[in-house]
């Protein structure tokens, strides 16, 4: 048993590591991907280009505009001077928002009345628009409170707090709500799944395509020896990639690593059971590398969409939420995000671990039972 397995492993490692393209795919691509995606995948809304149509031109309007600029959320890209320009600038996309302040703004304020301001927003990117809207509401709220404070001070002659009740919110685990801290660990799950599923399925199918499978099948090698020989190398490579990506996340992107690192490895081991099981399964239903590749992609695209990587599972319809219970990526995402950001104990994480173990074990067993040492 052991001798054959060791021989298989040596052979697989020689084949994988001798091929320069394979080396690049396994060790260079993950690094490049995590760095590029780490910068690119970001849902933080900052520096939304904004135009200002200020018809009043008073200190009060300048104060409000300065508050928009000072928030960091908006950049004033242009001051416009006419009505049609609003349409123009939103159409061209030069600005995503327009703040329009009518004549008499300052007068209304000093008279104790209500001044109108219009905030026009390009809503085609709904996510950015709604975040920007929240910021705008916050800025105008702050502006109001400051004004009210001034009015009280003027009329009553005392400093009064404009707002008796204030909610002070603080985000736990990710104090600055930095989306990179949330996404970079997710990229890890993605890269490891892509590599292990595609490469393990193709490596078996390749032997079938080239004809070496036939030669292997007339030897007394056991089914288990062959399957382990084919999956262990990719599992080991998967671990190396997880370690590399975790180091980049922590030292390059400054993602905190608050949890207990061995949980990352335990979770990864269970996750690899699933991805390699899927890879092996794909290899039993494909006869060419092309078929294996296509099947892997058809699986992975929905698997990522429905994993909670970008779109929260809680927002999905109930029935789809139930479907995601069959998706190993969803469990792994919870584990790695918690290891990086939350420091959860096994007492909390065990359902995720168990989910992976069950899915992975079933997948591997199913694939292994489909894998025969006979042809056709």
């Amino acid at each position: 048993m052991l001798e054959r397995l060791i021989r298989m492993l040596i052979k697989e490692f020689i084949q994988v590591l001798r091929n320069p393209r394979m080396r690049a795919v396994l060790f260079v691509m993950p690094v490049a991907q995590v760095i590029i995606i780490g910068y690119a995948v970001n849902t933080d809304v900052r520096h939304v280009p904004m135009a200002v149509y200020d018809l009043d031109r008073t200190p009060a309007t300048r104060d409000l505009v300065a508050r928009f600029e000072g928030s960091g959320c908006f950049d004033v890209v242009r001051h416009i001077g006419s009505e049609p320009e609003i349409q123009e600038i939103l159409d061209s996309g030069e600005a995503k928002a327009v703040l329009r302040l009518n004549r008499g703004f300052a007068e209304a304020l000093s008279g104790g009345g209500t001044a109108q301001a219009q905030f026009l927003l390009d809503g085609s990117d709904s996510n950015t628009a709604s975040v920007a809207l929240t910021y705008a509401a916050q800025i105008s709220g702050d502006f109001n409170r400051a004004l009210l404070g001034q009015r009280f001070a003027r009329t009553a002659g005392v400093r009064v707090d404009a707002e008796p009740v204030t909610v002070v919110s603080r985000a736990w685990f990710n104090a600055n709500l930095d989306s990179r801290h949330y996404f970079v660990p997710g990229v890890l799950a993605m890269i490891v799944a892509v590599l292990t599923i595609i490469l393990s399925s193709m490596s078996i199918v390749r032997e079938r395509e080239v004809g070496t499978m036939e030669q292997i099948m007339v030897t007394p090698i056991g089914r288990l020896e062959f399957i382990l020989g084919k999956t262990i190398p990719f599992a080991m490579i998967g671990f190396v990639d997880v370690a590399i990506i975790a180091l980049i996340s922590v030292f390059w992107f400054q993602v905190p690593l608050r949890g207990f690192p061995p949980y990352l490895f335990l979770g990864t081991a269970l996750y690899l059971l699933s991805t390699l099981g899927i890879g092996l399964f794909i290899s039993t239903v494909s006869s060419t590398q092309q078929q294996a590749m296509m099947t892997a992609f058809f699986f992975m695209l929905p698997a990522f969409m429905l994993s909670g990587f970008v779109y929260p599972i809680a927002n999905m319809p109930k029935i789809v939420q139930i479907l995601t219970l069959l998706n190993p990526i969803r469990y792994y995402l919870v584990i790695i995000r918690s290891v990086f950001l939350k420091d959860l104990s096994l007492g909390v994480l065990w359902p995720q671990m168990l989910g992976l173990l069950l899915l992975g074990g079933t997948m591997l067993l199913l694939a292994a039972s489909r894998f025969r040492k006979t042809m056709s």
Partner: protein, 324 residues
């Protein structure tokens, strides 16, 4: 081993393999004696590879029985795999491994005992004449060399039975010759060799032959049996002038099954050469042909197979007409 299967390397009884409606191997029965070189002949698609794959445990038979090395091909496939060597037309070695790495791999998979490993590796390198190239990537070797290495890897564990599935297709004649020298050497050491081929000159090298056609066993015997008693037709060789024109005349004669040019001679297949010869001479001379010698000859294996296959086609044809 005392049972009947024990004295034979391979026994087949009504072995059949269907793929859906298609019958690839149709109830074949035969025995292969230990130590003989047994040739399995037939055109492409006749069922040769399907049969050999059933014997090696790569395919399950649909029905019928068979033994290899006294072991049941249905239930003892893994034991069989330990005792046989198999090499197919595709030279199934790993192109991205070196010669030595391929040998080490198969040596490990077959669990060649540790103390024998070095000696067996040397034996393969010597046999395949690859001592100088042990660190060369296998993919860079010429086809003939790869094929010898492939044979070597199939023999690492010193199997008593060797299955070769069209081992020499796509290899130059010189390499084919050296390859057969290796096969003879194996046979002289008592190894049973079961080889499929569609090269007639290779068939001549075999101790015994089985001809299969459309999944059925058409003939079984030694090459000389085949040319003698098994040949239904006789071959009459005729030398005459303007053979091309004469061929047309001869082919139309009653009693001539088939006529073909062989160099400057005409070969005629007929049931009775003694009866045909005088009639043919008469007809040809009447048409003004100068007729030279006219004699029955020993058919080549190719003649035998063509005649047997055509006889089978005629039989099937008349059957089909009858059914219609």
């Amino acid at each position: 081993m005392t049972d009947a299967a024990g004295s034979y390397a391979v026994t087949l009884r009504n072995l059949e393999r269907r793929f859906g409606e298609f019958v690839a191997v149709n109830r074949i029965s035969l025995d292969v004696r230990q130590g003989e070189i047994f040739g399995f002949l037939g055109p492409n698609g006749a069922g040769k590879s399907t049969t050999i794959r059933m014997l090696c445990g790569l395919l399950e038979p649909s029905s019928g029985e068979g033994t290899v090395a006294g072991l049941d091909i249905r239930t003892q496939r893994e034991e069989i795999k330990r005792r046989i060597g198999y090499m197919s037309q595709k030279f199934s070695l790993y192109d991205d491994l070196t010669v030595e790495e391929n040998i080490d791999f198969f040596s490990g998979i077959y669990r060649v005992p540790r103390e024998k490993k070095a000696a067996r590796k040397d034996w393969v390198l010597d046999m395949a004449n690859l001592q100088e190239h042990r660190h060369t990537r296998t993919g860079l070797l010429p086809a003939g060399w790869k094929q010898r290495l492939s044979l070597g890897c199939a023999l690492l564990h010193e199997p008593r039975i060797l299955f070769l599935d069209e081992p020499t297709s796509g290899v130059d004649p010189l390499s084919r010759r050296t390859f057969w020298d290796l096969i003879y050497e194996m046979a002289s050491q008592g190894v049973t060799v079961f080889v499929t081929t569609h090269y007639m000159e290779e068939a001549e090298y075999c101790d015994r032959l089985a001809l299969i056609y459309r999944g059925e066993l058409v003939a079984l015997g030694t090459p000389s049996d085949m040319k003698g008693s098994l040949m239904a037709d006789q071959v009459l060789s005729v030398s005459c002038e303007r053979p091309h024109e004469a061929l047309g005349v001869a082919a139309g004669l009653e009693g001539v099954r088939d006529a073909a040019l062989f160099g400057r001679d005409i070969h005629l297949m007929t049931e009775d050469a003694g009866d045909l010869a005088p009639r043919l001479r008469q007809v040809l001379e009447a048409r003004g042909f100068q007729v030279g010698t006219m004699e029955p000859i020993t058919p080549s294996l190719e003649d035998v197979f063509v005649s047997l296959i055509e006889a089978r086609d005629r039989a099937d044809g008349s059957q089909q007409e009858f059914k219609a």
